[in-house]
């Protein structure tokens, strides 16, 4: 008994020591890591006014407001940290908000829902449906704004509303090289538009020239990935993101990145990607945050920091650095849920929308998140 007691005491001391020095360890690692590292998570749920478990999207707008799109309404975080909800009662077209983007010029917030597109402008919501506007379909999975055009990826093609003229354009399998019309994401890349198509990979559209170019999984078959880094990992694009010359593709078969010349792919087990089921990507500079069904990651393509949460709610982080053994450490506070649906991050913080709450990732002090990772 005495031995057991001593053992327990030592174990407790060790755990305490690890706990207390965790930030220091992170700092030590971080110094060499060109990625932000989350030191701890804050969790937001019903107590803070989040109306439901499932948070699909999160966005911090240029005025500093935090917006979340949930299973049950669009919410904005107000001064005291509480969320104020806008639902169909306030004019929102449907309560399930899937995606959001801010118009950088006017500050208007555009929110896609499972029934219609919404513009939240000066506290007023304007709705767009397939029956009363040129929107291709009411189910809107992705939105982006490029050169005064709002692009919406819908269940039946992408639609672009010219905010200056009010004219709509639609692109689908009828008038582009889109193999299927089922669009899941749309992302502007300077003057190009990337469209993530469910079953048709990625379509690159040049609006000035009216051209389309498709990027498809070169294997042509969903059973395998024959060769890594040969193109999009799969044609079932579940999300697209673009920043600083890098296009990131999420699929349920892994993750891809395109730098305009070369492709890079990641799959679970063979790379540090935690799960093939990738749902969301949010690039910052030239690194990218990734939401999967098994936690969140941030990577520059070479180094990876993966955040997990266990069944009992305990969190841990795994750091994969090139040329080093993977480091696995417990976290003092965990991501609220591993099913990560949306992310917003900058160089100071990260917000993660999950199937069971909203988490804010607070970076370890002195992080080098602003460093630009070298892409090979």
């Amino acid at each position: 008994m005495k031995i057991a007691g001593i053992f327990c005491l030592r174990l407790a001391s060790l755990v305490t020591l690890l706990w207390l020095t965790a930030p220091l360890q992170i700092l030590a690692t971080e110094a060499e890591l060109p990625l932000p590292v989350i030191e701890r998570f804050e969790t937001f749920g019903k107590e803070q006014g989040v109306p439901t478990n499932k948070v699909h999207a999160v966005l911090k707008t240029s005025d500093g407001k935090l917006w979340i799109g949930t299973w049950d309404g669009l919410c904005v975080r107000e001064g005291e940290g509480k969320f104020r909800r806008y639902g169909p009662e306030e004019g929102l077209s449907h309560k399930l908000v899937t995606c959001m983007v801010e118009d950088p010029k006017t500050g208007d917030l555009w929110a896609g829902t499972m029934r219609g597109l919404n513009k939240v402008s000066g506290g007023k919501i304007t709705r767009y449906f397939q029956t009363d506007s040129g929107l291709p379909n009411n189910v809107v999975y992705g939105v982006d704004i490029v050169n005064d055009n709002i692009w919406a990826a819908t269940a039946a093609g992408v639609g672009a509303l010219d905010l200056k003229t009010g004219a709509w354009k639609i692109y689908d399998h009828n008038n582009s090289n889109m193999h299927e019309p089922w669009c899941y994401a749309v992302k502007g890349a300077k003057d190009l538009i990337y469209i993530g198509v469910w079953g048709a990979g990625i379509v690159e559209h040049n609006p000035q020239e009216g051209t389309f170019k498709a990027y498809r999984d070169p294997d042509g078959d969903f059973h395998y990935d024959l060769v890594p880094d040969d193109g999009p990992i799969n044609d079932i694009t579940s999300w697209l993101a673009w920043n600083d010359g890098l296009l990131w593709q999420c699929t349920y078969f892994g993750m891809s990145r395109y730098d305009g010349k070369y492709w890079k792919t990641w799959v679970q087990d063979k790379t540090p990607l935690p799960s093939n089921f990738t749902q969301f990507a949010w690039p910052v500079n030239r690194y990218c945050w990734i939401g999967t069904d098994k936690g969140a990651s941030v990577t520059d393509g070479t180094n990876w920091v993966n955040y997990f949460v266990g069944e009992a709610g305990a969190g841990w982080v795994e750091i994969h650095q090139s040329g080093k053994a993977m480091e696995k450490r417990p976290m003092s506070t965990a991501l609220c849920n591993g099913f990560v649906l949306g992310i917003w991050a900058d160089e100071k913080e990260a917000w993660l929308a999950t199937s069971k709450g909203l988490s804010r990732g607070i970076f370890a002090s002195g992080t080098a998140s602003g460093k630009v990772a070298v892409v090979k």
């Binding site: 478990n53 699909h56 449907h94 399930l96 899937t98 499972m114 029934r115 397939q130 291709p136 379909n137 009411n138 189910v139 999975y141 819908t154 269940a155 039946a156 093609g157 299927e180 019309p181 089922w182 899941y184 469910w198 079953g199 294997d219 042509g220 078959d221 969903f222 059973h223 395998y224 990935d225 024959l226 060769v227 890594p228 079932i236 349920y252 078969f253 892994g254 799959v267 063979k270 799960s275 093939n276 089921f277 069904d293 098994k294 849920n337 591993g338 099913f339 199937s355 069971k356």
Partner: protein
């Protein structure tokens, strides 16, 4: 004591039901032996069927792709890929199983997405609907006082504008626990994408599109055997059993047409007989002179058709009139009367894949025929039967799991096999029913059936270890 407990635990582990962790339903039980009576087409065909069974057994030690595609028809079969998918079912790692049940529930709602009555699939959709409604009516009639009845929320899909997505959202707004439907591949794809966000399970009862389940969305089970299976069965029949070398394909110019023959074209190429002609026609088109000329120029010894039965019947007759003597092959829908009606004498010899012999006499099937006839005053067809089975499976899942969409999902997504009135179903890693297809040949005014080959049941545990499969008991 401790040892006994461990022993009991190990027993539980060994004998864990095929339905996975949460919740734990009773293992599906096959109620009655399958007494299907099938008539072999010819003695040679019977021998060929036996050869197929042997081939299946021989493949037991190899990696089986979904739909149980034979090794020699698997793409890139001679390469060792960087990464293999579908070795096991994709899990759903999201939360929800522990969410409290809704209070004051008046009914257990299930959505039914049917094709528009005026479209090409309208009649089949109507038969599906009757099968589904029969299942729910029977279930509600059997429910005890205090049990919440089922309610079917039926909606029609419009063929334009991706309306299936909108309807799926309407189902969600109605708080359905699950969705049944539909036939059209487009619509089902669209619904599946929506349901991934809405997290409501779909049981598909009639869409043959092979690409549907390739999307890795763990929210759909398909009880309806699909076109990939028909393709490899047909390829095997055309190339191996009939020895055809010059194969022409004539299909409808549509998405179902494209994805319907997609695997057949690849399969015959892998078997060494690439298609010598691949022609398209517009649905309803009756001027096929150009297609017929091209096929004739290709001098085929086999023609594979894909399209609506009336169109194929017309095309088959036109080809014969043009002097083309090639053997005819087609898909299950040609069993519908419009094919024979339009084809006339040209129907003779048409060989198609079919799910099973509808004249079989096993008890579940015969009783279903009676009940359906009694309720609707007509004989059920395959769409009604799979609609009925899909509904029964959904009912079972709801009854076992309670009104919680996530537990219903777990029940259905973890099911490896199930028995319905259509027969014994085996679900692969893509949640597809891979019960093998039979063949039927039209001879002297009726369809004669060949027995289906053995089912090769995937063993997930062994697959993950050594990528092997074990044969199931052959169908009788």
């Amino acid at each position: 004591m401790r040892i006994s407990a461990l022993f009991l635990l190990s027993l539980l582990a060994v004998h864990a039901p095929r339905v996975a962790a949460y919740p734990e339903p009773a293992a599906p039980v096959k109620a009655e032996p399958d007494t299907c009576v099938s008539v072999p087409i010819t003695p040679e065909a019977a021998q060929a069927a036996a050869r197929t069974n042997q081939a299946a057994a021989a493949q037991a030690e190899t990696y089986h792709y979904y739909a149980d595609t034979p090794e020699e028809m698997v793409p890139y079969r001679n390469l060792d890929p960087y990464y293999r998918y579908w070795l096991e079912r994709l899990p759903f790692r999201g939360p929800g199983r522990d969410y409290p049940d809704p209070v004051d529930l008046k009914s257990l709602k299930v959505g039914l997405l049917s094709p528009a009555p005026y479209g090409p699939e309208g009649a089949r959709g109507e038969r599906t609907r009757k099968g589904v409604l029969l299942a729910f009516e029977e279930e509600n009639a059997m429910r005890q006082p205090g049990q919440i009845p089922f309610e079917v929320i039926a909606k029609e899909d419009a063929p334009l504008w991706g309306s299936a997505a909108n309807i799926t959202v309407e189902f969600k707004d109605n708080d359905v626990l699950g969705i049944l439907g539909t036939i059209d591949g487009d619509a089902t794809h669209v619904a599946l994408r929506a349901t991934l966000k809405l997290e409501t399970y779909i049981i598909n009862t009639s869409d043959p599109d092979p690409t549907l389940t390739e999307t890795q969305v763990p929210w759909l089970t398909r009880v309806f055997p699909e076109d990939r299976q028909q393709c490899f069965r047909l390829a095997d029949m055309v190339v191996r059993q009939r020895g055809c070398k010059r194969i022409a394909v004539l299909r409808e110019s549509s998405r179902p047409g494209r994805v319907g023959v997609m695997h057949f074209v690849n399969d015959i190429r892998r078997l060494g007989s690439p298609a010598v002609a691949h022609l398209l026609y517009k649905a309803g088109d009756r001027s096929l002179a150009e297609q017929i000329a091209a096929i004739k120029a290709a001098n085929p010894d086999a023609v594979l058709f894909y399209g609506q039965p009336a169109d194929v019947g017309f095309a088959a007759a036109q080809l014969r009139q043009a002097g083309i003597t090639a053997q005819y092959f087609g898909f299950d829908r040609l069993m519908e009367g419009a094919f024979v009606k339009n084809a006339g004498d040209a129907a003779e010899g048409m060989t198609i894949t079919y799910f099973f012999n509808p004249e079989r006499t096993d008890k579940p099937w015969v009783e279903f025929l009676d009940r359906f006839q009694k309720r609707w005053g007509e004989k059920p067809d395959i769409y009604a039967a799979y609609g009925y089975d899909g509904a029964k499976l959904m009912i079972e899942a709801v009854n076992k799991s309670g009104p919680n969409r996530f537990r219903i999902r777990d029940y259905l997504a973890n099911l490896d096999s199930w028995d319905g009135v259509t027969g014994h179903m085996v679900f692969d890693a893509r949640w597809d029913n891979i019960a093998p297809f039979s063949f039927a040949q039209y001879q002297r005014g009726k369809w004669l059936f060949q027995p289906a080959p053995a089912i090769t049941r995937l063993d997930k545990k062994r697959l993950s270890q050594g990528m092997t499969a074990v044969p199931d008991a052959p169908a009788k």
